[in-house]
Symmetry: C2
Subunit: 133 residues, 2 copies
C-alpha cells in the first residue's frame, strides 16, 4: 500500500475504530441473449473438459442433463464458434469435447474473475475494511 | 485507449466479427452481519433524506414499513454511528433524519458503484465487447 493510501482515512469508519467491511459481488458476461458466461457455466465447461461427456459433467454437478444441454446450447449460440461439440450415439451415449474457443472462454472468465477479486479487495480497503475476508 | 490496447485482439471473438459482449454484475458492501449497503438500502436512505420519514420513504418504494425499519436497523447496527435517527410520536408519527454518517454512506456507495461501472466497461472491452450497452 502506498503512503498516501495508508494516510487516507477509510470512508465508512470513525474514531471508534473500523468494522471489517468487505465489498462483495457477482459478475458475468452477457451476450446477445442474456447470460453468456458465469460461474456456473464455466464450472460446467471445466467438467465437460474433465469428463468428455455432458451427461457425466451434469451428474457431477447434480444438474439435469436437460439443463446442462440448454446451457451448452446457449453458450454455443452466443459464440462465433462453438465452445463444446457433442456427438450423439456410441456405447456411452456419445461424447463431448471442449473446443479451443471453450478453453479460451474458461481462461477469459478466470482472468475476469481474478480482476474482479482485486477490484473488490481494493475497494474494500477504500470503504473501510481490510479488503480481505 | 492506448495503441497497445487497440491492437490487442479481444478475448472472445474471432475473424467472423465480435458479438457485443458486456460485463454485468451486482455489488454490495458487507459488514458484521451480512449486507450493510446495497442498491436497495441506498435508495431507501436517499428517500428517507428526501421525505424525512421512514413511513413515507417506504411507501414511495412500495416497501412495507416493517421491512424499511429492519433495513434501517441493520444498517445502524453495522455502523459505528447510526445512519438514520428516528423519533417516535408527533402529528405525523414521528420523523426520521439522515445523519452525517448516512450522507457519507450514500456518497461512498455511489463512488463504489461508479468505480464498478468503469471496471465493467473496461473488462467488457477486454473480453470482446464495446464495453457499453
Amino acid at each position: 500500500m502506498s503512503d498516501s493510501a495508508r494516510k487516507r482515512p477509510p470512508a465508512l469508519t470513525n474514531a471508534k475504530g473500523p468494522p471489517a467491511y468487505t465489498v462483495q459481488g457477482h459478475i458475468w458476461i452477457e451476450g446477445t441473449e442474456g447470460t453468456f458466461l458465469g460461474v456456473g457455466r464455466i464450472t460446467l465447461l471445466v467438467r465437460i473438459k474433465e469428463f468428455g461427456s455432458i451427461t457425466r459433467a451434469a451428474k457431477s454437478l447434480k444438474m439435469s442433463y436437460r439443463k446442462a444441454w440448454e446451457l451448452v446450447e446457449s453458450m454455443n449460440r452466443q459464440s462465433p464458434t462453438p465452445l463444446v461439440t457433442a456427438c450423439a450415439g456410441g456405447k456411452n451415449g456419445g461424447g463431448a469435447t471442449l473446443t479451443g474457443a471453450g478453453e479460451k472462454a474458461i481462461e477469459t472468465f478466470r482472468k475476469l474473475d481474478s480482476e474482479f477479486k482485486r477490484f473488490r479487495e481494493r475497494e474494500g480497503r477504500r470503504v473501510g475494511g481490510t479488503g480481505k475476508r
